[in-house]
């Protein structure tokens, strides 16, 4: 479904991605975990072209592109089939929850308002936000904003949704409502890539877990196996450290 190969990315601070390979298959939920500052966000941002990779290939829907020379038209085409859920929600401040969800359908996909409205109501209902559809982001809690952001991402029915630590900006008591929505999507067979520090989500919901450290994939495997029987020493240390925190 979505695959990137041999991706490199440097910032002024140095190499962040050092030839990383990553793939997600149709209907699969992949959790990306790893220590802070090791390139997880950068990987998602390169896959969605919010950041330009220095080198790498992306294969989306059987079409292969060089990530350094892909055209704006092809980027837009891929983004039409790709949802992104940000750590900080990034709901449009000038629009209500309902308008946030409709925007991508009406303005980007030229859907008529009635059809878009029907979809908007469906997805807002799915995330439990239909009763607050006419609220502005400033009038919603973080958890509610993130649920609206998820509704906005799923409304165009994208082929894959990328989540960048969707719960880490939330107060602990609000993470549950967002994780529940994500579980629901996972059970419906949505293709998802989830960067997360929520180990229980990675273990219980993800099919596959990818451990990123030092700008490469150190280890990956089926979720159960990965947690029960990690092979690499770095993975074991990371798991030991994080599991103790939880």
């Amino acid at each position: 479904m979505l695959e990137v190969k041999d991706v490199y990315k440097t910032f002024s601070s140095g190499y962040v991605l050092k030839g990383i390979n990553f793939r997600v298959d149709k209907g699969e939920v992949v959790a990306v975990i790893g220590p802070s500052g090791q390139g997880k966000t950068t990987l998602l941002r390169c896959m969605s072209f919010l950041e330009k990779a220095d080198k790498g290939t992306i294969i989306f829907d059987d079409y292969s592109h060089d990530m350094t020379s892909i055209s704006p038209v092809d980027i837009k085409k891929i983004r039409m089939d790709m949802g992104f859920v940000f750590q900080n929600f990034n709901l449009f401040g000038n629009m209500t929850a309902y308008e946030n969800v409709c925007e991508g359908l009406v303005t980007a996909r030229k859907m008529n308002k009635a059809d878009a409205g029907k979809i908007a109501k469906e997805v807002l209902d799915k995330v439990g936000m239909l009763d607050r559809a006419d609220r502005y982001p400033g009038e919603l809690s973080g958890g509610q904003q993130q649920r609206v952001a998820i509704a906005r991402a799923i409304a165009p029915n994208p082929k894959v949704i990328l989540f960048d630590e969707p719960t880490s900006a939330l107060d602990p008591e609000l993470t549950g409502e967002v994780l529940d929505v994500m579980k629901k999507l996972a059970h419906e067979g949505t293709t998802m890539v989830v960067v997360t520090h929520e180990m229980s989500f990675a273990r219980d919901v993800a099919k596959r877990v990818v451990f990123v450290d030092g700008g490469v994939v150190v280890e990956e495997g089926k979720a159960k196996e990965f947690f029960d029987n990690p092979k690499e020493e770095r993975t074991r240390q990371f798991l030991k450290r994080t599991m103790r925190e939880y």
Partner: protein, 237 residues
């Protein structure tokens, strides 16, 4: 106060007020409209980082902010005829004030646009919007309330600066006061009167600003000022 002076002031009040309403206000509004259009265009090409246009924009701002307004006014009205472009006094004034304030409004818009957190543009891209769509639908609507107070400050400055148009024969508020002052030999009283009428106009604008700001914040963000500032901070962090 002598009866004569009192009569002069009351009879001149209308004579100064009428050109104020008929000339100063249209001059202010037309120049301001022009300056907003120019300012917005100059700001957009800068933030869009369109190479050549960005340089032209910086150059424009450099020129119009770096030279006196009255000199620009004279160049347009007295100077341009030398190269075959002759404009009436009023359009010359609109052009000079509009071009000049455009340079200042460009900076107002530019800083208001870059004040919007980067995540807004990224989210717009990720739902499939193009750059122009994202600008028009997401960024500019949120920049406008940010720019509004500074735009309005510039409008109030402009109202007073239009008095410079008297120097290129536009018969506006101040020109009328000058003429009556010359005729009656009462410059002190008449210029005070002119100042008073400007003050009435600018007081009205100040009141309008307060009123519109309240409406604008409410409509565009649907929350109180404080809540909103908090939300923006959270998005940057």
């Amino acid at each position: 106060m002598s009866d004569r002076l009192f009569d002069i002031l009351t009879s001149s009040f209308i004579k100064i007020l009428i050109p104020g309403i008929k000339v100063t206000i249209p001059l202010t509004l037309l120049s301001f409209a022009l300056s907003v259009v120019i300012g917005l265009l100059l700001a957009l090409v800068q933030v869009a980082d369109i190479k050549v246009l960005k340089q032209i924009s910086r150059f424009y701002i450099w020129i119009f902010r770096g030279t006196p307004l009255i000199v620009q006014l004279f160049i347009i009205f007295f100077g341009l005829p030398n190269i075959g472009i002759t404009l009436d006094a009023f359009p010359s004034a609109v052009l000079a004030f509009g071009l000049n304030l455009g340079a200042y409004n460009a900076e107002v818009f530019r800083s208001a646009i870059i004040a919007i957190p980067k995540g807004q543009m990224e989210a717009a891209y990720m739902i499939g919007l193009s750059y122009p769509q994202a600008m028009a639908r997401v960024i500019l609507p949120q920049s406008f309330p940010v720019a509004f107070p500074n735009l309005f400050n510039n409008l109030i400055s402009l109202l007073k600066d239009t008095s410079l148009a008297s120097s290129i024969t536009v018969i506006e508020l101040f020109t009328s006061a000058q003429q009556i002052a010359a005729r009656t030999y009462e410059p002190f009283a008449l210029y005070l009167e002119a100042a008073f009428i400007y003050l009435i106009f600018s007081t009205f604008l100040t009141w309008l600003q307060t009123y519109l700001e309240k409406k604008l914040v409410w409509k565009s963000k649907g929350g109180s000022d404080e809540e909103d500032a908090g939300r923006n901070k959270a998005m940057i962090g």
